[in-house]
Amino acid sequence: MTTPANTTQRPASQSAPPGGLSRSMIWRWVLDMLPAMLTPFLGILAALVIIVLILEWQGADPQVAWDYLYEGTLEDNIRRADLVAYWMPLAVTSLGLVLTYTAGLWNIGVEGQLIMGAIGATWAVRLFAESDSPPLGLDLGRDGVLVMCFVFAALTAAFWALIAAVLKTRGGVNEIFGGVALNFIAQTFNMYLVSNGGPWQPTGSRATETARFPENARLPTFQDYRRLSPTTIYVTVGVFVVVVLIMYVSKWGLQLRAMGKNQHSAFLLGVRTERNVVLSMALCGAMAGLGGAYRVLAPDVSKLTAAPSGGIGFLAILVVLLASMSAVLIPFVSFVFAVLSKGGQRIESGFQWDYDIVLDRSLVRVLQSTVVLMVVLAFGARNRFFPPRSAQPPVDDDTNGDTNDG
């Protein structure tokens, strides 16, 4: 819809003046970018205010809580190593989710995929590494066993994600509902394996967990930090590179973005949407499965417990939403969330011992989801009331093209 008045001659708005960037343009650019950069901080600030209010209401000093948070996560190298050990599964799961959320797929089933990964890794341990005589009679050595663990974890979790994907593409079941149901099924299946005389519970044991894994199924650790394994770091960095390549270099990443914007248009433009749904879900599942493998193979765990995920799958969804599906932001956001989760344990125990205040660690989970909610709301408010230039309706961009011929 253009009127003849503005079809006359206005230069395209992007063309820079001949002498490079003028001062006013830089100033305008800064003004444009400022809300975008400030918005997340406003959201985080709002969330912090809410949490401080809750702390005051519970009679806890926010300053002390902050000190505990630091003390429990970053104070010395051992704590930092523990933090990294917690960070890795969260990061690798979040990286996988980037692929599905970019494509507009609400992979809520990631929690169940993580659990299936944990189960898959344990299965591999049982097949290849039982100390006396492995059922398959193969002697792979420790490296071989660990490789099989990761492969099995990735495959079982990818299989679990595939169920959700096929239910969506062929069964018409929305991935949210399929995912929720598969989460509960995976959880219950895990419980079945390790509880009340389940097949993987050692005979005579009453604990809801498997026996500790044999020596040849333990991840190598750092010399000084016995709870952190370098293997998880290498694998996660590898996954990070793969996801960044997919998202920023490959054509497939572009297809996923197009699907996220509008799946139907992408389909009309020749994107094989159904195949991409299945592929991105399976890849995401495989990465979540690696996260599950980290959780059970962690040197201080080394067994399948009743709740191998510990809510990391849902946390990863919050990470991806907060990072607005940007692969390069994932390491930072997941690090901050790992600090909060780890610090939450110290906050709980600290207040209990030193001040006799009962402050459940679920408080930090409240903080995490409040931050995400507030940042999402802040972005919504920004786009609504201070729209960035690119989001404004074009005024004169379509006038010099051949779009209107009548």
Binding site: G172, I317, L318, D360, V366, L373
Partner: protein
């Protein structure tokens, strides 16, 4: 009371919260808004009702507080959708997690404490009718409410003028707007009303069905959401779905106690979720259309009316005035 009577009575009772939440979500979705936060909202409102009842001793205040919680959460969903144009699914999901964690955090001191119960109030004459009496008229007021609600929503949506308007803003908001309907305002109203009912469902859990606060409500909200799809956004069928789930659960529990069939408890726990997947597949995959096609011509209109699967056309989409 015979075995059948007590089984059916138990089903009516244990289905009540899902019926209430399902009707609430149905009203919301019929107005074109998805409130995905049900799972968290039910937990938070159940915890609120339990705590308020314990602290003040007033059950009325407890129920009202739970409904307010449900409305508050619903307000965030509808405000962020209409005023901020955010994705209802995204905000709803974040709220699901937030509310569940908030319920666990705030409810910790009251965890596993004895709770107050809505007094049992059998209806004098009606309760002596054989079969129907014990099944429908031997409960407390919240359970009666769940039964009345289905009738009320059915009547409201299909037989009243405002009900027609409600359907129109979920199907054709533009047309409704042209006819002078305040679409955005009504979406606020119906989302809040639906939220209040979801809060009421939470209160029904903690004050009547699963007495007290035990954090084991996770999943109920998702079942309610799935039942709205299974019920194809029709009040009667949504209620039917809720009773079906409750019935299967009670059968499963009976099976578990059965000595002949040795079923692990976990299989029983998985059943509702398998059922959820299967029913959603049936409801959305076009199987029903085939059923309609193969029914004899005489019954085709009836079959179509009962089985036609179509979500409100404007569901989940923001409405913009031009």
């Amino acid at each position: 009371m015979t075995g059948l009577e007590s089984t059916l009575r138990g089903i009516v009772r244990s289905a009540a919260p899902i019926v209430i939440a399902g009707q609430g979500e149905l009203i919301t979705e019929r107005a074109g808004v998805i409130n995905l936060s049900l799972d968290g909202t039910i937990m938070l409102s159940a915890m609120t009702a339990h705590v308020i009842a314990r602290e003040t001793g007033s059950l009325t205040q407890a129920v009202l507080a739970a409904m307010l919680v449900g409305m508050a959460v619903a307000f965030v969903v509808v405000f962020s959708s209409i005023a901020l144009r955010l994705s209802q699914v995204a905000v709803g999901f974040i709220l699901t997690i937030l509310c569940a964690d908030l319920a666990i955090f705030l409810g910790k001191p009251h965890f596993n404490q004895p709770g107050k119960e809505i007094p049992h109030a059998p209806i004098p004459v009606l309760k002596d009718i054989p079969l129907l009496g014990p099944v429908f008229f031997d409960h407390n007021i919240l359970i009666y409410l769940s039964l009345l609600l289905v009738v009320a929503v059915l009547f409201y949506i299909y037989r009243t003028r405002p009900g027609l308007t409600l359907r129109s803003i979920g199907e054709q908001p533009e047309a409704a707007f042209v006819r002078g309907t305040p679409v955005q305002l009504l979406r606020y109203v119906y989302t809040l009303a639906g939220g209040a009912l979801v809060g009421l469902a939470g209160a029904t859990y903690s004050l009547s069905v699963k007495l007290g606060w035990k954090e084991d409500l996770s999943g109920e909200g998702w079942i309610a959401l799935a039942i709205v799809i299974f019920g194809l956004w029709m009040p009667g069928r949504v209620a039917l779905g809720a009773y079906l789930i409750a019935g299967l659960r009670s059968v499963a529990i009976d099976l578990q106690d059965n000595d002949v069939i040795d079923l692990p408890a976990q299989i029983v726990n998985m059943l509702p979720w398998f059922l959820m997947i299967i029913t959603l597949m049936i409801a959305t995959s076009g199987v029903l259309e085939k059923v309609v096609r193969f029914t004899p011509d005489r019954f085709k209109p009836a079959a179509r009316r009962f089985l036609r699967a179509a979500p409100p056309r404007a569901l989940g989409t923001p409405f913009e005035k031009h």
